[in-house]
């Protein structure tokens, strides 16, 4: 019994870090200040302008945006390239134009502008984490010297707050699991070894092929020593590695996989019969897509494009939502050791 609980505990611990790292924010929310950098920060403190929303504008196809960069210069900005903290002038197709600081809530279709309502000064210590907003995606962790500040032009939008130290461990935990996973690589080799060694021991027919297999493994190992040497190196292992890779593995690999073309051909011929309504649908779709793949006619291509972008996309999405949830469910069951069944109920 203790064995089972040990396994359960270890399994839970295995996942708990990454789960927390995802769910817990980078900085403690109620100790985080979010706003534009107003003045060049000193080593000890950082002045942040708190922005209040003044305008919220829907972006149309003919909406233009102009970003004011340092030294008062103006430059065109695209809806998906504006960054929080930019000072932009948005002009709607109707001709109304508004100026303000882009806020993080804006999306490519909808810009929220604001102006600095108040300013707050944050003291910088080791426990403080500064994250600069990107145009899209999460904030990046930056040092004080990297920040560009301005009160009259585009500046950086930062979130400054007391850090939750979880993310600092990410790389180490990641490395640990990378190595742990890689340790399993011997399994493939070992199981193959079991298969073929027993073939040879019992002199089963084709045991000669197993001998050949071991010879190939040996050759592969020796050739592997030449991996990663400079192109022009005179090492014989490098030459051997090239021979194995280009003269043996290349034709072997591509030919073995190309056999499937023939199976597919005969399978299509033999089993693609209009037996039922479903079979007909499948066959028609397959033929349409195949014809669309060929360089025959433009409208054939567009027909297959329609199937792929409307029907297939929709159906695959629906299936993927289901698979995502079942993946989460099985993950949960394994993670919390709720799983039952032959493997998990074996007495240990």
């Amino acid at each position: 019994m203790w064995k089972k609980s040990l396994i359960a505990i270890v399994t839970f611990l295995g996942g708990v870090y990454f789960f927390l790292e995802f769910v817990v924010p980078a900085t403690i929310p109620w100790k985080t200040t979010s706003g534009v950098v107003l003045s060049k920060p000193t080593s000890s403190e950082l002045e942040i302008g708190l922005v209040r929303e003044t305008a919220s504008i829907q972006v149309m196809d003919r909406t233009t945006m102009v970003r004011r960069v340092g030294s008062g210069a103006l430059e065109q900005a695209l809806p998906d390239s504006i960054r929080p903290g930019d000072l932009v002038t948005v002009t709607t197709p109707a001709g109304y134009s508004t100026t303000g600081i882009v806020m993080p809530e804006s999306s490519p279709r909808w810009v929220k502008l604001g102006r600095v309502a108040a300013s707050k000064t944050v003291g910088i210590e080791k426990s403080i984490l500064i994250r600069r907003m990107r145009a899209r995606g999460s904030g990046e962790q930056v040092g004080l010297d990297k920040l560009n500040a301005s009160s009259s032009a585009s500046a950086d939008w930062v979130q400054v707050g007391a850090r939750t130290y979880l993310s600092d461990w990410y790389d180490n935990v990641n490395d640990f699991f990378i190595v742990l996973g890689s340790m399993a690589w011997g399994m493939g080799l070992l199981s193959l070894w079991l298969v073929h060694s027993s073939n040879i021991r019992k002199r089963r027919t084709e045991w000669s092929l197993s001998v050949l297999f071991f010879a190939a493994v040996a050759l592969g190992v020796v050739a592997g020593l030449g991996f990663g040497l400079p192109e022009d190196s005179r090492e014989w292992t490098k030459k051997l590695s090239d021979i194995v890779m280009f003269d043996l593995l290349r034709p072997l690999g591509s030919t073995v996989f190309s056999l499937l073309a023939f199976y597919l051909a005969s399978a299509a011929y033999r089993s693609f019969k209009a037996k039922s309504r479903e079979a007909v649908l499948m066959m028609v779709a397959a033929l349409t897509v195949m014809l669309g793949q060929l360089s025959l006619h433009a409208w054939l291509t567009s027909a297959s494009t329609w199937i792929l972008y409307i029907v297939t996309t929709g159906a695959v999405r629906a299936m993927e939502f289901g698979l995502m949830l079942s993946g989460i469910a099985i993950g949960l069951r394994l993670w919390l050791s709720l799983e039952r069944g032959a493997f998990f109920d074996r007495e240990v």
Partner: protein, 286 residues
Amino acid sequence: MLDFLIKLQKVDRRWIYLAVAVACIVPFIVPMRLSVHPSRETRGVYEAVEKCPRDKVVLLDSGWDAGSLGENMGQGQVIVDHLFRRRIPFIVVDIGGSAQGPQFMNAVIKDIHDRKYPDRRYGTDWVNLGYNPIWGWQVITLVAKDIHKAFPKDYQGTKVDDLPLMRRTHNIDDISLIYTVNYSPCEDYISFVHGVYGTPIAFACAGIQSTTEYRFIPPRQLVGMLVSARGSAEYEVLMYPNNPEMRVSKGTELIVPMTYGHLVIIFGVLIGNIGYFAERWKRRRV
């Protein structure tokens, strides 16, 4: 007559094999050209590469090997050609693909370099960082955070800090586009790179895999996708609209024979069904 039709669905499979083989061999011996119609997903990749700035790099994840050479090689050729033409520096990596990936991609690059752009230099115009056997998010997140940590050396053992291109490339902010050439590209790029940092991603994948990747194109999780040999053929049509003699990629070489192979299979399906219906008709008659 009816019996003959019924026999049509009992042809020995070796005859089908022979028909496919012949249909595929003939176009190689008798060269012919067909028009290619670029599709939406291919245009997407082309426009994305056209938009790339010169001061950032393109990350080219090439994990293909002999098994999928017919499809992926062309996709690698066209993108390298395009990047060399626009002189956008690019970094070749192989994350969890195949140990042969870097060498194959290197041979492709060398060939295009010698044939078309002899003045491009290794280390400034492109870098090949070699192979990392770990598939999936574990290394991808590492590359996004600090590429020097993920790949301390390039594919032939040089320290990356000695390469001028790598000195100005540190993390995801220096990468303007990620292009993945693989039999089945890693979807973790979409969740852990596009989802986290918003970097545009383009896939170049096998036809079978493409069917599930189409769903990422409308929400722009993928800017575009090259599908099989067709994708690279279409891409070259976009790159060289007026001078076909410049189209030299594997895709352009294979697209015409592919057409014939497909037609034979379609024909096989049709005669199979003719036989099937003939049999059903006969059964109904007696």
